[in-house]
């Protein structure tokens, strides 16, 4: 009970709100204006020149405010000095004499005594002298007049401006304070020089005193750099390759891809080292989870983007085992990594691979996570896989390329494939060699279809050669390897039925761990009740690449890796113009 009472009292004190919080943005338009003060750069001006007046309002002694644009300006002697119409607080001397100028607002007024002299201009000077600007930029010039009575006055507003070469730059003659005397070199201008002239005291364009300077317009200069990832995502799993582009915006509003010209820096090399340029993009491979800022710099201009790396840090991957490959054939290799957040995913494409003696074997990257080792000459060498980062894991194994004679080869399934039009199946080829060994040679077999109108052969994937049914009918698939030809071609029948529906499995809302790979399949149901696995035939997409990605849709269709934990997105399969969707919640 005592605690309850004290809680109440403390709450009352806390909520009593004795002080201000935040900051106010509204001007005080309520406190009455009590006086006005008028100031000007000159109290005497030469005939034909002008001066800008400033009215400062005092509000009950609490604060002051520039009210030059709010007061009503008037001259008691307009024949001597009168206000311009386009700039209400600029007054021009008409004839020599004295004038009383008044500013009035809300019943409060103030006067300013201005004298107009009969002095005449003796010289006009333009500043800055001989400037240079980049194409697309502007230059404000100021004209200063020296008068016969020794006074010096800013006559920028009163002079007539001209550019000798308007293809290089134009100069504004507008009678307002913001654009008068401003030289511009718009995008359509050319580089070069032009003479800028300010003339004062001309009558109908004749006579007067002028001053001039030379303006040089140079090539456009870089104003800003925009850095973006190639697919506009900001979150990726660790051990991912991320590509960046740098687009420069120049002073003439043109843009240029300057990816190859900029200096790339990463604020946290442990998360991702600085991108390196190759080809058309600058790429880096993420290492550990965290955040880094990628900066592209050219000269003094920089642009940045933030890269968020998720999915845990690589803890280990299984040691490579010794391998044997028959000379002239290829075998796939695959590695799954274990990460600090208890996730696991295929890292084949993320490891740095090397073969000690490349005359014996080479490696080919077919897709992001599909790597083939091909025997080139009999012999034994070593193959090494290394994970990125300064503390990366390295694993080495022996790779033996054997020279043995091909005895026979067979294709599975021998009974062939029964496909629906638009769907595909897989064939695998196994070779038997004279040394008693056998090897999957699907990737080395030359495949063909006797009727491409019925079925076509596609790419080789982890589960075999892809055969796609095109139209109702029957055909055979031929295969040859080395000097052998498959004696009995594989029969393929293709039928056509109406697609009723298809479903992603698992369905509904599926939780995935950031960095973990999760596989989905798609089962189609046709009008006769037939069901077919069409996982390889649908087009897979995720709603937001910052939440979940498809690491290798070509060879690992339906495989998803979560990226942004605490977020969700959709996984969509599209087939025959229809879609099926599940929701992915990334944890």
């Amino acid at each position: 009970m005592r605690n309850l009472l004290w809680s109440g009292l403390v709450m009352a004190v806390l909520l009593s709100g004795c002080g201000w919080s935040g900051s106010a943005s509204r001007p005080n338009t309520i406190t009455p204006l009590t006086s006005i003060t008028i100031t000007a750069a000159y109290s005497t001006i030469a005939k034909g020149t002008s001066v800008k007046l400033t009215a400062t309002g005092d509000y009950s002694g609490l604060f002051t405010r520039d009210i030059s644009n709010q007061v009503v300006w008037s001259s008691k002697m307009p024949a001597v000095a009168n206000f311009a119409t386009n700039v209400p607080n600029r007054v021009a001397g008409q004839t020599p004499g004295s004038a009383v100028l008044t500013a009035t607002m809300g019943g409060v007024s103030a006067n300013f005594d201005l004298k107009v002299s009969s002095a005449t201009a003796t010289t006009v000077t333009i500043t800055p002298a001989n400037p240079s600007i980049a194409l697309g930029l502007n230059q404000q010039f100021t004209a200063t007049g020296t008068f016969s009575d020794g006074t010096v006055q800013d006559i920028t507003f009163d002079a007539t401006w001209a550019s000798g070469n308007t293809t290089v730059a134009k100069v504004s003659n507008a009678a307002d304070d913001n654009t008068g005397g401003v030289a511009t070199s718009p995008q359509e201008s050319v580089t070069g020089t032009t003479t800028i002239t300010a003339t004062f005291g001309a009558v109908n364009g004749v006579g007067g005193i002028n001053g001039s300077t030379v303006l040089t317009v140079t090539a456009p200069v870089l104003q800003s750099i925009a850095v973006a990832t190639s697919n506009n995502i900001s979150s990726v799993p660790s051990l991912s390759t991320v590509s960046f582009t740098a687009t420069g915006t120049y002073s003439n509003n043109t843009t240029l891809d300057i990816t190859s010209q900029v200096n790339w820096v990463s604020s946290n090399a442990n998360v991702a080292p600085a991108p390196l340029f190759s080809g058309t993009l600058a790429s880096t491979q993420t290492v550990t989870q965290g955040t880094t800022t990628i900066t592209a710099t050219l000269g003094t201009i920089s642009g940045t983007t933030t890269l968020n790396v998720t999915g845990g840090n690589l803890a280990s991957f299984p040691a490579l085992t010794n391998m044997t490959v028959v000379n002239g054939t290829s075998v796939p290799i695959s590695v799954t990594g274990n990460f600090s957040n208890a996730s696991a995913r295929d890292i084949t494409g993320a490891l740095k691979w090397s073969i000690a003696n490349p005359t014996f074997a080479n490696m080919t990257t077919v897709s992001p996570n599909r790597l083939l080792i091909r025997g080139l000459a009999p012999g034994t060498t070593t193959i090494t896989a290394a994970s990125p980062g300064s503390a990366g894991q390295i694993s080495t194994a022996y790779l033996t390329v054997t020279n043995t004679r091909l005895n026979s080869f067979s294709v599975s399934p021998q009974a062939g494939l029964a496909l629906m039009a638009g769907t595909s199946g897989r064939l695998t080829a196994t070779a038997n060699f004279s040394n008693g060994t056998s090897q999957d040679v699907t990737a080395n077999v030359t495949w063909g279809s006797n009727s491409t109108a019925v079925a076509t052969v596609g790419t080789v994937g982890p589960t075999g050669e892809r055969i796609t049914g095109r139209a109702t009918g029957a055909t055979t698939i031929t295969a040859s390897f080395g000097n052998l030809i498959l004696t009995t071609p594989v029969p393929v029948s293709v039928s056509t039925r109406t697609l009723k529906s298809f479903t992603i499995i698992p369905s509904g809302t599926v939780s995935v761990v950031a960095g973990n790979q999760t596989s989905f399949t798609v089962t189609a149901t046709y009008n006769d009740g037939t069901t077919v696995d069409i996982t390889s035939d649908v087009n897979w997409t995720t709603g937001d690449g910052n939440v979940a990605i498809l690491p290798d849709p070509q060879n690992q269709p339906g495989r998803v890796v979560g990226v942004g934990s605490g977020t969700s997105t959709s996984l969509t399969a599209t087939f025959n113009g229809q879609t099926a969707t599940v929701t992915l919640n990334v944890q």
């Binding site: 009970m1 309850l4 009472l5 109440g8 009292l9 709450m11 009352a12 909520l15 009593s16 709100g17 004795c18 002080g19 201000w20 919080s21 935040g22 900051s23 106010a24 943005s25 509204r26 001007p27 005080n28 338009t29 309520i30 406190t31 009455p32 509000y59 009950s60 609490l62 604060f63 405010r65």
Partner: protein, 217 residues
Amino acid sequence: MKQTCRMILALCLPLLLCGPAWAAHSGPYAGVFLGGNALMAATSNDSLGEFDLRFTPGLLGSAVVGWDFEPGNAAGEGRIELEYSHRINQLDKARFADGVAPAGGNLTADSLLFNFYGVFHGEDRSWSPYVGAGLGAVRIVTSDLTVTGGPLSNDSALALAYQLGLGIDYALTERLSMDLGYRFFSSTRPKFSEVNGPAFKMDYLNNSVVLGLRVGF
């Protein structure tokens, strides 16, 4: 003076804490309260931007009619009541982008709330703590609000209101009890027209301490 107050407190506190335990009243009751209230600095907005109004602490008066639930009631021990309250605060200062300016005028709030309080009765004591909340409506009036003598607002607005409260009931007799409590009172942002400008919305967040008497029937 200080000594006199201390003596009165020293004499009264034992009486309050050690008085006879009365049976908890059930049935209808009525009561009146008086107290002080402090309005938190009110953040306000109009089309020109954000400004703040600060008020001096003011008085609070309220009247209630309600029903005490029977002890052991299945709905819980406590009471439900209808409360009318009147709060008044004087505008002290206004803060704009140009700085703080002296201000004047009153802000009054008349509210009608349905309150529910849970009461924690004890067997051998005459005092019972309570905590509760209320919901209703408030009519807030800006009476000649001025800033540095310039008129700001003279308007009224209706708003939804709510209240959180806690305190202690002290049973003086079987039917008469004294109540010392704290109330946090707030509303949706009322909108007032300005005398020479656009309409503005302001926060209304109020803390009150009340002392009252309730009579059971």
